[in-house]
């Protein structure tokens, strides 16, 4: 059996998790540095309600760009995110079965769970879990959330984040993500190489520091205003925009180490307030 191409791989994961009962979501509409930041994961992890979801998320990490010249590093790539809340007892078996569904014979390969403690200081979030290795290739991060937005988790979810490029490299036996078959006759690089080059120029050389600096302030101000109006969901978008603006400023080298901690602190403060408001307003059972 020939390995699935990139889009078939995504389709298989969609099918598998839909069959399990996940709500299939679509990518979020603003830049995220990780699928975890999508409100379908970040906010829905909070509170007492059960929730199962799966979705593709394009992740934007300006500092990771390499002008499309490096086979492994991109400022824009994809994760497949699954959140199961509460974590079912057989969650690992479910995950391994998803690999089988992709055509990975777990008896033929060396599949391993290697300790990885996950922490996202800007979101006040941490959890314990693993990197999943297939023959030495890290293809997934698996995390049991313990805290999100500075709040202790009520109902512990399992988060499964497939790194789609690495998973595809493993499946297709390719040493460069650029060489992956996306669709018949079309490679990953055909779709995104020029985009990587141009965005790397933007991220590292062109993004206007003064505009971004004031934009960060504006998003922060707007977030506070929305918190005052008790609108946690729109307020959370402003947190995401602050975070992305900060990442761009970082890529431009416009942030000193000291300022860095201060910026992260500002985003974290907002994320905590949003989480608290969300739990107060939405996650409480209806009276």
């Amino acid at each position: 059996m020939s390995p699935p191409n990139y889009q078939e791989m995504i389709a298989s994961l969609e099918r598998y998790w839909a069959d399990y009962g996940c709500v299939l979501m679509q990518p979020y509409h603003t830049e995220l540095a990780a699928g975890t930041m999508n409100p379908a994961t970040f906010l829905r992890s909070l509170g007492p309600d059960e929730w199962k979801t799966a979705y593709v998320e394009p992740v934007i990490r300006p500092t990771d760009g390499r002008y499309g010249e490096n086979p492994f590093r991109f400022q824009h790539y994809f994760q497949y995110q699954v959140l199961l809340k509460p974590a079912p007892e057989d969650v690992l078996d479910l995950y391994f079965a998803s690999l089988e569904a992709l055509g990975i014979d777990t008896k033929r390969h060396d599949v391993r769970l290697v300790e990885d403690d996950w922490e996202q200081p800007t979101l006040g979030a941490w959890g314990l879990g693993w990197e999943v290795w297939c023959d030495g290739m890290e293809v997934t991060q698996f995390t049991y959330f313990q805290q999100v937005g500075g709040l202790e988790i009520e109902l512990v979810p399992a988060e499964i984040t497939y790194g789609l490029e690495r998973l595809a490299m493993f499946l297709q036996g390719k040493r460069s993500a650029l060489e992956l078959e996306w669709a018949p006759g079309v490679r990953w690089g055909d779709v995104y190489r020029e985009s990587e080059r141009e965005w790397s120029v933007y991220n590292f050389e062109v993004a206007p520091v003064d505009i971004l600096t004031s934009r960060f302030e504006e998003h922060e101000t707007e977030c506070r205003m929305l918190l005052d109006r008790e609108l946690p969901l729109p307020a959370y978008d402003q947190v995401l925009k602050c975070s992305h603006t900060f990442n761009l400023l970082d890529a431009r080298g416009a942030i000193s180490v000291t300022e860095r901690a201060a910026y992260i602190g500002r985003v974290r403060t907002l994320a905590r307030k949003v989480a608290q408001l969300y739990v107060e307003k939405i996650a409480q059972p209806a009276l």
Partner: protein, 636 residues
């Protein structure tokens, strides 16, 4: 006697959690009997060979016998026995509660063990309230062939090749698991791995990697792979770091490497791992070439703008301080050049990728730029020694730079009010201090920590650092480390630290010399002279600021003044020359005039001026002998 198997089945535990659990389970085992503790990624196992059939009987002590009338009935009722069942032991009423049969007692005991295990990082995963390093998924307990009530009678084999494994009896547990591709015994896994590596020509594998991979596989096999020869042009350390830091591989000679797998088809698994390593090497070589294209000088300029520590300026400021400190340490041009380039690699992409390469990769970039080997080696060695027993820099320039770097880091941390407290030492300052002591003792570097740290502090102030404290406590902090490092008893080290010798190696040798001569006549004489003077005058605040010989009237007083004037410079000169025996001999000469002074002269004279002058004379005696150290620290 029956055997017990107790297995806590988990999702994959990190290696440190396995180690933490093993320690705690061993102390549980000691309470139960003989047996073994086996730990691994998916199971923590307690095997007990000879469990008694019943728990031991327990004597429950009640009220004293003389209160029988008042209290016996209540006590008996509480224990659920009749008054007639109470016995008397040692004047107290009590009841002997027979131990429960083991099968009855075990469920509670075993559950307590699970709940009692503590981990430095633990988590919740459901609403059971249990905290553990990773989720617990099954508990299997067998007493011989009986399944303990409330527990399972089955284990689980290798995650991908075997499912549920019924355990017929405690004694058959290991065989059942081994037949299901699980080796529960970590020592057996370690042997398999070590043997496999030895066959591939690796006799001394990296112990850190080894300790981790033992707990990364339940059915380990050692496999060998190769990578493309073109990566051999990368510095060896870069190649090895890429293998070890993330992949947990073992570098072999040339372009070969070994790794531990947990199963799978060997050819498939090897091909996969080779691809991953080549990817990592590709990445490293891409980064390496970008750094090299910039060159060490430009990296130096870039790093100069990076903040070293908030409040203490940039790496540029740090380098300026290092240059001044290596000068103060008597380093030559090569040391100064090494200091100038020491932190350039903080701007290297490769260091951001692999922090362990700091120093080493800077040295590599300096070599590529054609700097002399003395300069490159010093850059390479600047963080040594990086562990308690780790090697010292081999080159003189390296020792000088390593000492300067440590003194500066200590002065910065103390200046910012971040000295270590209790077990908190985030900047590794104790290690730095021990490193300085070893550089002095084993590296024969002359280190006056008080002077050097004061200099570093002054430089920081001149650079505009916003400091809370000065560096006056740095020397004390470093010298305290000597106490645990020398043969001489602690009291002698403390005494020597208070001497006129301020340089680390000198303090150490003085402490050893004092300890070695503690039983000699000279030591006794010097000690008595010091002690008598110190006892009377040490705590007095009535002494004159300076001795006025004209106020001396008695012959004994004049004799002591003459003796001190003679001995004091002799002692100082001998100390300066590190002739500690001579210094001690000179100090010993003061004993006789001190004794005579106390016999013949009344220190607390009526005349205030005379009294103050005599107290001053005694303080001068104390200080002259005290140049050898605070002898009052030494118990006699």
């Amino acid at each position: 006697m029956p055997s017990l198997l107790f297995e806590i089945g988990c999702e994959e535990l990190p290696a440190p959690a396995c180690t933490e659990a093993a320690t705690q389970l061993r102390s549980e085992l000691a309470k139960l009997g003989r047996g073994s503790v086996l730990v691994g990624p998916r199971r923590l196992v307690l095997l007990v060979d000879d469990l008694p059939e019943r728990e031991p009987d327990e004597w429950v002590k009640g009220p004293p016998e003389n209160l029988r009338e008042k209290a016996a009935e209540g006590f008996a009722k509480k224990q659920g026995v009749g008054v007639g069942d109470l016995e008397v032991r040692d004047g107290f009423l009590g009841v002997l509660v027979p131990g429960r049969p083991l099968l009855e007692a075990l469920p509670e005991r075993l559950n307590e063990i699970v709940r009692g295990l503590a981990f430095s990082k633990s988590m919740r995963w459901d609403d059971s309230g249990l905290r553990f390093a990773r989720p617990v998924r099954w508990l299997c307990a067998k007493l011989d062939d009986r399944t303990v009530e409330g527990f399972g009678g089955s284990s689980y084999g290798h995650r991908f090749t075997h499912g549920e494994v019924p355990v017929p009896s405690a004694r058959e547990y290991l065989d059942a698991l081994r037949a299901a591709d699980v080796e529960p015994d970590p020592d057996a896994r370690l042997n398999t791995i070590a043997e496999g590596l030895r066959k591939l020509g690796l006799a001394e594998p990296n112990p850190k990697v080894l300790a981790e991979v033992v707990h990364l596989a339940e059915w380990p096999t050692v496999l060998e792979g190769t990578f493309a020869e073109r990566f051999l042009s990368l510095p060896r350390r870069v190649v090895e770091t890429a293998m070890e830091s993330h992949q947990r591989y073992f570098p072999l000679e040339s372009n070969r490497f070994a790794f531990v797998a947990n199963g799978g088809d060997p050819a498939t698994v090897i091909a996969g791992n080779e691809g991953v390593l080549e990817g990592r090497l590709e990445d490293a070589s891409f980064t390496f070439e970008r750094d090299v294209a910039k060159g060490i000088e430009r990296l130096g300029e870039e790093s100069a703008r990076i903040t070293f520590v908030a409040g203490a300026g940039s790496y540029g400021d740090k380098v300026a301080r290092l240059e001044a400190l290596v000068d103060a340490l008597g380093g030559g041009d090569a040391s100064r050049e090494a200091a100038r380039l020491a932190k350039a690699d903080q701007a290297a992409e490769l260091v951001r990728e692999f922090p362990d390469l700091e120093g080493h990769i800077g040295a590599e970039y300096a070599r590529l730029a054609g700097f002399p080997e003395a300069v490159c080696a010093a850059i390479d060695e600047q963080y040594l020694p990086d562990s308690a027993g780790g090697p010292l820099p081999e080159t003189e320039t390296g020792r000088v730079l390593a000492a300067a770097d440590k003194v500066d880091s200590l002065a910065v941390a103390f200046g910012l009010g971040q000295r270590p407290t209790g077990s908190r030492d985030p900047y590794g300052l104790r290690r730095a201090a021990i490193g300085l002591c070893r550089l002095a003792l084993e590296g024969n570097l002359e280190l006056d920590v008080a002077a050097l740290s004061a200099r570093a502090h002054q430089l920081l102030v001149d650079q505009g650092a916003e400091l809370k404290d000065d560096a006056s406590e740095v020397a004390e902090f470093v010298e305290e480390r000597l106490e645990g490092m020398l043969e001489a008893p602690v009291e002698f080290v403390r005494a020597a630290r208070a001497s006129g010798v301020t340089e680390l190696g000198g303090i150490a040798r003085l402490a050893e010399a004092l300890a070695a001569s503690a039983d000699t006549e000279e030591f006794e004489q010097a000690y008595v002279a010091y002690d008598r003077a110190n006892r009377l005058a040490g705590k007095s605040d009535g002494a004159a600021a300076e001795l006025d010989p004209k106020l001396a009237t008695d012959e004994a007083e004049l004799a002591l003044i003459t003796a001190v004037a003679g001995a004091s410079p002799k002692i100082a000169a001998a100390l300066e020359a590190r002739e500690f025996d001579d210094a001690l001999a000179a100090a010993a000469e003061l004993r006789a005039p001190v004794d005579r002074f106390f016999d013949e002269v009344l220190v607390m004279a009526d005349d205030a001026q005379v009294r103050a002058n005599r107290l001053r004379l005694l303080l001068d005696v104390r200080d002259a002998v005290g140049a050898l150290g605070d002898l009052a620290q030494i118990p006699r």
